[in-house]
C-alpha cells in the first residue's frame, strides 16, 4: 500500500517537474519551427492545450494500462522503445548480481570471522577502494588493461538495442565486472559488520561457553541471524542495478535503460523521461517491498513489532 503511494507520488513529482520546465513536447518536436500556427496545430493534435490535471489523469490512466504514450522524436510507442532497453538492463544487472552476491557474502563472512587480521584488512581496504573510486575510473582502467594492453576483451559494445542476449557476449564481461565490484564492496561491508555484531552478542558468548563446536556455532547460531539485515542492502543494490546504471552503460556503450535516459534528457523527449522515471521508481519500490516482506517472513519477531507499530 505504501509502495503504491510512493509510486503515485513519484509520478506526480516527475509530471510537475516536467510541467514546470520550459518547453513542451511540441517545441521539442518542431524545434526552430515551433511558432505560430504550427505550434498551435501540434499542441491541439497532442492535446497539450488541456489543463495540466486532465493531462496528468490521462497519462496516469494510460500508464496503469501499460500505455506510456508516444516518444516525441522517434515517433514510436514508448513501451516498444523501452522494452528492449529494460531487457538489456535486466541482463546486465542479473549477471552482475550472479557474480557479485556469492562473492560478497563469502568474503564478508570470512572478513568478519578473521576480524582485524590480515585477510580482513586486505578485504576491507579493497572494499573501500572499490566502492569509493568512481565507476568511470575503474571502467576506464579495466578497458585500458584488458582491452588496450592485453587485447583479451572488447572495450565497448557495438550491438544495437534489439540484438539477442547471446550477442552481448563477450562485450558484456567488463561492464558486469565493474558493476559487480561496486555492489560486492557495499554488500561485503554490511555482511561483515552484521556478522561481527552477532559474534559479539550475548547468546553467541553463551553458546561458546556451553562448548558448541566452532563450525556449528557459525553455521547455526551466527549466520542465520547475521544475514537477515543484509537483505535490505541487497535490495537497494538490486534497485540501483536494475534502474539503469547510467555511467557504466555510457562508458561501455551498452544499450540499456540508463543510456536511453541520458539521450531522452538531452533530446528533451519529456514523455520518454517521464516513462523511464516511472519504471525506475516502480522497480525501486517493488524491490524494497519484497525485501521488507522477506525480512518479515524470515524473522517472526518483527511481525509482532510491526503490528504493534501500525
Amino acid at each position: 500500500m505504501l509502495g503504491v503511494i510512493t509510486v503515485a507520488l513519484v509520478s506526480l513529482i516527475i509530471f510537475s517537474a516536467v510541467e514546470v520546465l520550459p518547453g513542451d513536447a511540441c517545441t521539442a518536436l518542431l524545434q526552430q519551427d515551433a511558432q505560430g500556427q504550427r505550434l498551435i496545430n501540434c499542441r491541439a493534435q497532442l492535446g497539450l492545450e488541456r489543463p495540466a490535471y486532465v493531462r496528468y489523469a490521462s497519462w496516469a490512466w494510460g500508464a496503469i494500462q501499460g500505455d506510456l504514450g508516444m516518444s516525441a522524436h522517434g515517433h514510436a510507442r514508448i513501451s516498444d522503445l523501452v522494452a528492449d532497453r529494460v531487457k538489456n538492463s535486466l541482463l546486465l544487472g542479473v549477471s552482475a548480481l550472479a557474480l557479485g552476491l556469492p562473492l560478497a557474502f563469502v568474503m564478508g563472512i570470512l572478513a568478519a570471522l578473521r576480524r582485524d587480521r590480515i585477510l580482513d584488512l586486505v578485504l576491507s581496504s579493497l572494499a573501500i577502494s572499490a566502492m569509493t573510486i568512481p565507476e568511470f575510473v575503474s571502467a576506464t582502467i579495466l578497458i585500458l588493461v584488458f582491452s588496450g594492453w592485453l587485447g583479451w576483451l572488447p572495450g565497448i559494445i557495438l550491438a544495437s538495442a534489439d540484438t539477442p542476449a547471446v550477442d552481448f557476449f563477450p562485450g558484456i564481461i567488463l561492464p558486469v565486472v565493474v558493476l559487480a565490484m561496486v555492489m560486492t564492496a557495499h554488500i561485503l561491508r554490511t555482511v561483515r559488520s552484521s556478522v561481527i555484531e552477532v559474534l559479539d552478542s550475548d547468546y553467541v558468548r553463551m553458546a561458546t561457553l556451553k562448548g558448541v563446536p566452532y563450525r556449528r556455532l557459525v553455521l547455526r547460531h551466527v549466520l542465520p541471524n547475521a544475514l537477515l539485515p543484509a537483505i535490505n542492502v541487497v535490495a537497494l543494490t538490486v534497485a540501483w542495478l536494475l534502474g539503469g546504471v547510467v555511467v557504466v552503460e555510457t562508458v561501455f556503450n551498452y544499450p540499456g535503460l540508463g543510456r536511453l535516459m541520458i539521450s531522452a534528457i538531452s533530446d528533451r523527449d519529456l514523455a520518454l523521461v517521464q516513462a523511464i522515471a516511472l519504471i525506475v521508481a516502480g522497480v525501486y519500490v517493488v524491490v524494497n517491498l519484497t525485501a521488507d516482506l522477506l525480512t518479515l517472513v524470515a524473522n517472526p519477531r518483527l511481525r509482532t513489532t510491526m503490528v504493534k507499530r501500525s
Binding site: 516536467v18 576506464t140 557495499h186 562508458v251 522515471a277
Partner: protein, 296 residues
C-alpha cells in the same frame, strides 16, 4: 563523551570540531585521509601560482607527447600540458562540493530534526515525499535541472545542495528519534521551551555527531556525482580543466597515451579515498554507525 551528553550545550562548535579532528588524526587511516585532503586543498588553493603552463595553451606539434623534462606529465590530445591541467582540475569540483555539502547537511539536518520532534501528520506526509524523491535515480533529477538551466557553478551548487540534503533528512530524523524521548527534552518541554529552542539547545548538540559523519559521506558522494557529471559531459564546460572531463577526453587515446588519463585518475581517486578514510575514522572516533547504503 558521556559528560558531553549530560551537558549538551557546553562545548562550542569550533572547540568540538578541533577535538574531533584530533581524534580522527590519532587513527592511522584518519591521519592518511586528513593528509590527502589537506594536500588536495593546498594544491587547489595554490595551483594558479604553481602551474608551469597556461591550461588553455594548445600546440599542434606536441599532441599526446609522452612525459619528458619540459612536460613532466606529458601533453593531451590538443597538446596541452597534463601537469598544469591535473593541478587545476580539482578546483571547480572542490569549490562546488565544499560549498554545497554544508548547505545540504544544514537544511536536511534541520528538516529531519524538526520532523523527528514534531511527528504527526506533517512528518508522515513529508517522509512519503522524501521516499518518492529517493526512488528516483540522482542522475535523472540532476540532469533534468542541468539541461534546463545550464551547467555553471550557479546551477550546480544549489542543485547538489538541494538534492543531497534530502537523504540527510532521513538520517537526522532517525538520530533525533533517539533523543526526543530523553528526560532532558521532556524537561525542556515541561519548562515551556518552544520547538526551535529545544532543537537548538537540546537536540542539535546530540545529533551533531551523526550529522558530521553524514556530512563527510555526502562530500565524497557529491564529489563522485560532480565528476561523473563532468565525465558524461554535463558538468564543467571545456576548456576549464576538470578531472572528470580530462578522463573522458583521454579515454579514446588511453592505449597510446596513458599519461593523459592516468594522472587525473590518480588525483581524483586519491581525493575521494582520502575523504572516505577520514569519514571512516570520524565515524569510529565518534562511535556513530556509518550508514551502509547502496550507491543510489
Amino acid at each position: 563523551m558521556s559528560t558531553n551528553r549530560a551537558h549538551p550545550q557546553k562545548p562550542s562548535l569550533a572547540v568540538r570540531l578541533f577535538v574531533v579532528t584530533r581524534e580522527v588524526a590519532a587513527r592511522p587511516s584518519g591521519a592518511i585521509g586528513l593528509l590527502l585532503i589537506t594536500l588536495h586543498l593546498l594544491v587547489a588553493l595554490a595551483s594558479p601560482w604553481l602551474v608551469p603552463y597556461d591550461f588553455k595553451a594548445i600546440s599542434a606539434v606536441l599532441i599526446l607527447a609522452p612525459p619528458d623534462s619540459t612536460h613532466w606529465f606529458g601533453t593531451d590530445q590538443l597538446g596541452r600540458d597534463v601537469l598544469t591541467r591535473t593541478l587545476l582540475g580539482g578546483r571547480e569540483a572542490i569549490l562546488v562540493t565544499l560549498v554545497a555539502t554544508p548547505i545540504a547537511v544544514a537544511w536536511g539536518g534541520f528538516v529531519g530534526i524538526y520532523l523527528g520532534l514534531a511527528g504527526g501528520r506533517l512528518d508522515a506526509t513529508l517522509m512519503r515525499v522524501v521516499d518518492a524523491f529517493l526512488a528516483l535515480p540522482w542522475i535523472l533529477k540532476m540532469l533534468l535541472l542541468i539541461v534546463t538551466f545550464g551547467t555553471g557553478i550557479g546551477v550546480l551548487i544549489p542543485t547538489l545542495a538541494v538534492f543531497y540534503g534530502i537523504p540527510v533528512i532521513r538520517i537526522a530524523r532517525a538520530a533525533a528519534h533517539n533523543v526526543v524521548a530523553r528526560d532532558y527534552v521532556i524537561a525542556a518541554r515541561a519548562r515551556g521551551h518552544g520547538r526551535l529552542s529545544i532543537i537548538a539547545r537540546e537536540i542539535f548538540p546530540n545529533v551533531l555527531d551523526a550529522l558530521m559523519v553524514e556530512g563527510a559521506m555526502r562530500w565524497s558522494w557529491m564529489l563522485l556525482a560532480f565528476s561523473s557529471l563532468s565525465f558524461l559531459g554535463f558538468g564543467v564546460s571545456p576548456p576549464t580543466p576538470d578531472w572528470g572531463l580530462m578522463i573522458a577526453d583521454a579515454r579514446t587515446f588511453l592505449p597510446i597515451a596513458p599519461w593523459a588519463g592516468l594522472y587525473p585518475i590518480a588525483a581524483l581517486s586519491s581525493l575521494i579515498i582520502g575523504i572516505n578514510l577520514a569519514a571512516d575514522a570520524l565515524a569510529k572516533a565518534l562511535g556513530v554507525d556509518r550508514a551502509y547504503k547502496a550507491p543510489i
